[in-house]
Symmetry: C2
Subunit: 225 residues, 2 copies
DNA sequence: TTTAATTTTTAGGTTTGTCTAAAAAAATTA
DNA sequence: TAATTTTTTTAGACAAACCTAAAAATTAAA
């Protein structure tokens, strides 16, 4: 199988993320926004990816990955998350520093490398942001009963299990308030006018979280208080 | 400092290797041969690199690196050799498997990454092929009194200290005969008609080495026998 | 020191991935 | 349903890195 360009790989990865998280058929404009590119460039590339059999694409109707395209996307995500794990676990990077470097490392092409790395890291199941790491065969084990913090009702106790990985500012903010994976926190109050919320961290600090922040923290429900 | 393309980095690296190992001013054709490219392509790129201040280039007279160009080349070589060391020491790659992967990894752009890696590997001085690893400041400590095996007279005992790194076939050949870094061997006889030689390995095996092979093994003289 | 061979450069193209501006289709609103 | 707005595609260009073929400069041979 001939190897794809970095650009093509980034397109497939982004189509995968959008089609699992947001829309079934991925629109030209949503890709343009995520890839910091223009709609016309996206159209060009979608035609090429469709020719090569990586996506199904119908003019004006958006696209989705073929089985082949999806398996490639998953392997790139596997590499991305394994490298992030390496950087945090072995090289002592902070979780907010790894994404940018992993965006480069995910394109290194060597099966032996990535399998050896997986072994070296002891076959980790989740990356530093709580996201599942696909295995060699592309299987992804999603966690059960995870919800966005913003969906949780007041007077609930929850545990942080994942955070949106690609916002540097968010990760720094969480770091600053001692919020990380496995942190427990209590939802004190929700303010409907701006969808912000007030929470109490494990060590008693009360923190206001904006809508944006609360959307990007994923938690597991622990108890009613 | 804005970041160079992978292609530009490869040109600088190759100019560095050729101008230290072979010729003071690097010719268009020698670059074309090393970069598997055509002379006309080299000319184009040299003009660009000269514009950007990485090389001195005079039409028809070849080129050499500026101080800036050299410092960039050395940092790429540093990355290449650190990654090779990582692959062998941590991921259990064979020394013949690492060069191709390092050719990709050397272009990853993150100072923190490479310095952390250096630390993680315990500041190695030499890579798996015996080549010196430049430090953070670009200093390279070359070994004293190293010669090519082909230059050594019969009845000498020598120790292998480095091998040409980028020939897969050579490395596999050496591996097969148990020849590696720190191996001791005895030069038995030299055959002038094809410049081949006969040697005896530490464990007594007698092996014939072609000119090509004997040129690409670097040794330290130990004793006359 | 001419002539011949070799090396290097220029001229003119190609491919990949991008862009802007204009046209076409689809979705919304009236 | 007709008009308007939004989304998407097409048309035409551009920069990077490469190529082939032809011209020019340099080097080697006669
Ligand atoms: Mn990431
Ligand atoms: Mn992640
Ligand atoms: Mn190498
Ligand atoms: Mn090496």
């Amino acid at each position: 199988m001939k190897t794809l360009s970095q650009t093509e790989e980034n397109y497939l990865k982004e189509i995968f993320h959008l089609s699992t998280a947001v829309e079934d058929r991925v629109s030209t404009n949503s890709l343009a926004a995520r890839l910091n590119s223009k709609a016309s460039s996206i159209t060009d590339m979608l035609q090429k990816l469709a020719d090569k059999g990586f996506v199904e694409y119908v003019k004006y109707k958006g696209c989705f990955l073929t089985e082949l395209g999806e398996s490639i996307a998953i392997q790139i995500i596997r590499k991305h998350r394994l490298w992030e794990t390496f950087l945090v676990n072995k090289l002592n990077f902070g979780w907010e520093e790894v994404h940018a470097v992993a965006e480069q490392l995910e394109h290194i092409d060597s099966l032996k490398l990535i399998d050896s790395l997986d072994h070296f890291l002891n076959y980790p199941k989740f990356d530093p942001h709580g996201d599942p790491i696909p295995d060699k065969n592309g299987n992804i084990v999603y966690r059960e009963s995870i919800l966005q913090l913003i969906e949780v009702a007041p007077n609930s106790l929850v545990e942080v299990v994942a955070v949106s990985e690609d916002s540097l500012a968010l990760l720094k903010f969480l770091e600053q308030h001692g919020l990380r994976l496995e942190s427990e926190l209590e939802i004190l109050e929700k303010y409907p006018f701006d969808e912000s919320m007030r929470i109490r961290s494990a060590k008693g600090e009360e923190i206001n979280l904006s809508k944006k922040v609360a959307e990007n923290i994923r938690v597991k429900f622990l108890a009613k208080i």
